[in-house]
Symmetry: none
Subunit: 201 residues, 4 copies
């Protein structure tokens, strides 16, 4: 990589970091290209060297988060399906907690907004999460942890609802509780209840 390319990367990262911090502290609604570039210490035009549209930087930031969570989850090799899902939940909410409530708010907004719900591959966040959870359950059937007649679609649906329900309510309540802690209780009661009938043996 030439020195120039290196500098370019640094500039881009500076923009990404600045935008992320701004969202974390003020939310997305007041995010402006003006602010991002001013704080990043570059000219307004520079923004458009790296991002064709303002929304592109938001998408890229979110993609970063999703990737991070995905990595954590796929790397866990748990035997027990309940433990695995619990970990999924906890990792998810852990990430959410770290990113902060404003990011989480934008996350939900972007997830429910048809304009922003699709990532670059044309797959919606919804589908993405759905597939991921579905795979975990399918694997569990293969591994004979779950019965063959497990209603995968229904259960996936239920679990995702739990997950986003937790997030949404956390945002609604304005951080009155610790997401990680609650998720534990949550998982304990709900996951068991959901899967109870289908656990093998």
């Amino acid at each position: 990589m030439t020195k120039r390319q290196e500098n370019a990367l640094i500039t881009k990262q500076k923009l990404l970091d600045t935008a992320e911090n701004l969202i974390k502290s003020n939310g997305l609604s007041s995010l402006s290209v003006e602010d991002i570039t001013k704080i990043a210490g570059v000219a307004k035009g520079t923004f458009y060297v790296y991002f064709k549209h303002k929304e592109d930087i938001i998408a890229e930031i979110c993609r970063g988060y999703f990737k991070e969570i995905e990595l954590k989850i796929t790397n866990t090799k748990n035997k027990n399906i309940i433990e695995k899902l619990t970990l999924y939940f906890i990792n998810f909410m852990n990430a959410v907690e770290i990113y902060g409530i404003n990011i989480c708010r934008e996350w939900i907004k972007s997830a429910i907004d048809p304009k922003t719900a699709f990532d670059n591959n044309g797959i919606s966040k919804w589908q993405y999460d759905f597939n991921m959870l579905e795979n975990i359950l399918k694997t569990a059937i293969k591994n004979k942890e779950l019965k063959k007649n497990t209603p995968i679609e229904l259960l996936t649906h239920l679990i995702i609802s739990q997950l986003y329900g937790m997030m949404t309510v956390w945002c609604m309540s304005d951080e009155v509780f610790e997401p990680k802690e609650w998720t534990k209780k949550f998982s304990k009661i709900q996951l068991k209840a959901i899967l109870n009938d289908y656990i093998e043996g």
Copy 2:
């Protein structure tokens, strides 16, 4: 009521209806006073006769929804706590379905946004829903349907998460399923699981 007052009411309702329809079809982000008045067939200034700020009409539309749901729920005289909660869920999602996905999206957005989450009495949507559900559970304890040691706060929390989880996921999935139908399945499995240990007798 004089003829004039009647006409004024009609005008206001026309504005409310137009705004609601616009939100339903295009979402709130592109809602403009210009459009509302143009479609309603009145002058731009007329809008400000009835609403001091643009947001006020949105608030009034939402308030209408909340009130409607509240009415339906408080009017149900069910014996069984599970049936009562199920009805709560179904009424809620039924309303949601009627209002349409765009209203539902704005609803969630407004519920998680600290700037708009508070109604005129300074109570957040979250607290409002929380109180309402908590009361249902408390009444159930009084009626000896639920055990005295029922962890009300925890359960209320779980149930609300379910509710908002359903809504959020419905919006995410871009209406791929019927909320009412799903809610039935949902309630059946989840509510029973949640309350199982605490049902008396």
Copy 3:
């Protein structure tokens, strides 16, 4: 006067008083027909029964002040021209002090604004004051208090400048001094200096 005519007068006075109070407390720039009528407890349209234009009520309020001052001054039967002018000054500033700084500000603004400087008779405030002072001086010549060769125009001009200079500076200084008190000192030094050469005998 019929009962109806009486009520009409009351309504008009209510509007005048309300407008005056509003100007006193908030200045003229924020004065609106909306506020006047709302506070006066009448409908917006009622305003236009009594005043063709918003500015008309302002003009009428000011005219009231001017009339009041005029009355005080013309009623004084002082022998001495210096005493008479001193009284003119003091009455003027006394009125100004009573009306308050915000009225005074609007007064100056209206006096220097060509759009509002003319009263209903087409005479500007400037001409009005000029004529009044000129008459006082002319009378003094007739009464042989002042010499025949007194340069009336010049002196009138000087005196008016003093008067408005006091007012303007009072407004500029944001009331840091008592206009009445200052006017006394002011008159003592300045009037004597101005007239000194022309006093008879």
Copy 4:
């Protein structure tokens, strides 16, 4: 300075000049960003590249005037205190005459309005003028032109009243006289009278 920066300066100056001309011809009350930019031949948005708010351009125009007058006055090295003050008066009114009556009107309005009377350093126009004159008098005492017991505050006050009185009356009279000419007569009579008792020797 690069060509671009030069062009930017030209654009800004164009805006300032246009605004100034508009005020000169129509007064400030009807000044709009729309007009300024349209006449200056730039886009509306360009205005906001150089001025955060509409009022900022007005402030900058006025500041220019004040600075100019200040310069002229501080640069005069007169021996005689009366001559010096006379020059102060004449310079002041000369500037006023050049700027025109509408600017002068806005000047007075801005000087008496508590919202706009303060410059960037938080000093009111009143204090500013007061300090400047006071210094002239103090220097005169040091130079033994004026007696030690000269009541500086009182005299400063009187002189400023004269100055603003002249201006106010000029605006009121709608330019019926030449300010410069009048100021000469004015100074001759008034300044002498004011200072007479305190001139040394």
